[in-house]
């Protein structure tokens, strides 16, 4: 019995190693590129032979990048907070309250989540230009909220549905109005779910490229992914590879930290909304 379990463990460690390689090889490659110096950048080695922090120095001295980083952080945090606030409210109503038009709203959220964003680029471009939102923070925040809402609503309503009905009934019996039941009993209990959803929403905002590319024109509101794509064409850098890699690493760090710290919750959040139906 003993050697058999050992063998099975070894086998599983082997399988795990493949998964780890799968996940990390492309990530470590970009880290490696960001650490290469000019001389070794083009040597094609996976591992840098003479690591340097030149690329990082370069991007952190580049006002455009710093501005883009600030944009990314600010826009994503604000969009996440608002999407979570509205999403929590809507998800609670959909999961728990009886009101007319509920099915329509669920269908609408589903529709938005399936929406090809490209279909909105032009109209949003035109509308935002007309009302002066083009190339501003709100100009990105608003679409981000709209596209984060379906995700937030689905994930959160799955969490809300797991809270026992009896708690709301008890709150009502204890003299709470529906709003008080929501605010003082249900929301505190849904906090873990709300937090998880916030992480998912943040990741989805952080990942956006298309809107950032088409609804901005200057560094005023351009986020890092879009700014990175402009590094290539820019002439300020002789060889943009290093800085691009460094910028890529910088915006990957917060995400990797989220994943490391909140693995369990992210898994729970991603799987709760979608499958249980």
């Amino acid at each position: 019995m003993q050697p058999e379990t050992t063998n099975r463990k070894l086998m599983w460690w082997g399988v795990n190693a493949i998964v780890l390689l799968y996940a990390f090889v492309p990530v470590l490659w970009i880290v490696s590129l960001s650490l290469k110096d000019d001389a070794t950048l083009n040597d094609g080695n996976y591992i840098p032979t003479s690591p340097s922090n030149d690329s990082y120095t370069a991007i952190f001295n580049n006002p455009d990048f710093l501005r883009a980083l600030m944009n990314s952080i600010g826009i994503c945090i604000i969009a996440t907070l608002i999407a979570i606030a509205f999403g929590t409210m809507a998800a609670y109503a959909i999961a728990r309250l009886d009101f007319p038009g509920k099915r329509t709203i669920v269908a609408m959220a589903l529709l938005v989540s399936m929406f090809p964003q490209i279909a909105l680029v032009t109209p949003l471009f035109k509308i935002e230009t007309a009302i002066g939102l083009f190339d501003t923070w709100p100009g990105l925040i608003i679409p981000y909220i709209a596209f984060a809402l379906p995700l937030a609503i689905y994930t959160l309503s799955a969490f809300f549905r797991e809270i026992p009905w009896d708690l709301e009934k008890a709150a009502k019996m204890d003299g709470a109005t529906p709003y008080q039941a929501f605010r003082r009993v249900i929301t505190p209990l849904a906090m873990p779910g709300i937090f998880t959803t916030a992480i998912l929403v943040f990741i989805s905002c952080w990942n956006d490229f298309l809107f950032a590319l088409s609804l901005t024109s200057t560094s005023n509101a351009r986020t890092v992914p879009a700014a990175m794509s402009y590094f290539t064409g820019a002439t300020t850098f002789e060889k943009p590879t290093g800085p691009i890699a460094a910028a890529a690493v910088v915006i990957t760090i917060p995400i990797v930290i989220f994943v490391l710290v909140f693995q369990r919750r992210i898994v729970a959040g991603l799987t709760s909304g979608a499958v249980k139906g």
Binding site: W13, P26, N45, D98, K126, S229, A274
Partner: protein
């Protein structure tokens, strides 16, 4: 007794009024019901408003634009031209090439993702060592910004720079290798997401059922096909639907990897080029609308033919 039926009914109603029953019957919504409805509408209000403002109104506007000439390079020549833009698009080889490329990426990508996703899901579900480690690392591709990953693949295949680049050819300048790399980038990023959805399905398969099947003489392969797969079919379909729709929108990877050169543009890419680079809003909007319609057809086909349950469709919880 000449009273008409209506009058009789009114009389009866009056009779009942005395004991207060009608009052109750007429006032169908109790205080509690009314408060609940009001709160419900108030709570969904902001979310509905934003989704309408950002998605519903613009798509209608896009449809309007697609019926106009709306070429920003000739702003004065704008006119209402009915479906001319659609005719132009649908008779353009560029559009159909892009459509073919998109379908190819979608179908091959989604198939690979399903297979690899299932393998990864089984690994995450079954591994007896380092489960947390596997799950955490599997989340990395999901969480990483697509553009970042795309740059990583691009640099890896760039001649004289990348660790994967062949000696004397530039794969990203040729059609088939480019498509291969685009699919690789898409698949790499989304297999974990697929795997997580499938793993949630696997977790719902009762362990006892598998034990019973193995007592009945089913080997691992048969157990998988005859017990697990039928039971997690809903999870598979939902995951596949989401991925198919997502793959059809492919943009970021192509933008970074090839910028659409060598006819590797997806439909989103050509629409983007017409809109932002070509400033031809009419043509671009027509493409947008066509993409929107295609997406709708895909979703409809899934729900109709495979019966994929829309998530949250069981929103009415039972009290």
């Amino acid at each position: 007794m000449t009273a008409t039926p209506t009058a009789a009914a009114a009389e009866a109603a009056e009779d009942r009024m005395d004991d207060g029953t009608t009052e109750i019957a007429r006032q169908r919504h109790t205080d509690a019901k009314r408060a609940e409805r009001k709160l419900g509408l108030m709570l969904v209000g902001p979310a509905v408003f934003i989704m309408l403002a950002v998605a519903a109104y613009p798509i209608i506007y896009a449809f309007w634009l697609s019926l106009n000439k709306a070429d920003l390079r000739q702003p004065d020549a704008n006119e209402f031209i009915w479906f001319d833009n659609y005719v132009t698009v649908l008779s353009s080889p560029i559009w159909w090439t892009a459509f073919g490329v998109t379908m190819l990426i979608t179908i091959v990508g989604a198939t690979l993702e399903l297979i690899l996703g299932m393998l990864l899901a089984i690994v995450m579900h079954r591994t007896i060592v380092g489960r947390g480690l596997v799950r955490t690392s599997a989340l990395v591709p999901y969480a990483i910004v697509t553009v970042v990953a795309a740059f990583s693949w691009r640099f890896a295949w760039t001649q004289g720079l990348g660790w994967l680049a062949p000696e004397n050819s530039a794969p990203l300048t040729e059609f088939w290798p480019s498509i291969g790399i685009i699919i690789l980038a898409e698949v790499w990023k989304t297999v974990p997401f697929m795997a997580l959805l499938l793993m949630a399905g696997l977790a719902l398969v009762p362990e006892d059922l598998l034990k019973a099947a193995s007592m009945d003489g089913a080997n691992a392969w048969k157990r998988f096909w005859m017990v697990t797969v039928p039971l997690i079919k809903p999870a598979i379909l939902v995951a596949l639907l989401f991925r198919t729709l997502d793959a059809f929108r492919v943009f970021d990877n192509i933008f970074i990897l090839t910028s659409g050169s060598n006819q590797t543009s997806s439909v989103s890419m050509v629409a983007y080029s017409n809109l932002i680079r070509g400033l031809n809003l009419g043509i671009g909007s027509a493409m947008s609308v066509l993409i929107f319609i295609t997406t709708g057809i895909i979703a409809f086909a899934f729900i109709k033919f495979f019966g994929a349950a829309a998530p949250g469709s069981d929103a009415e919880g039972k009290r």
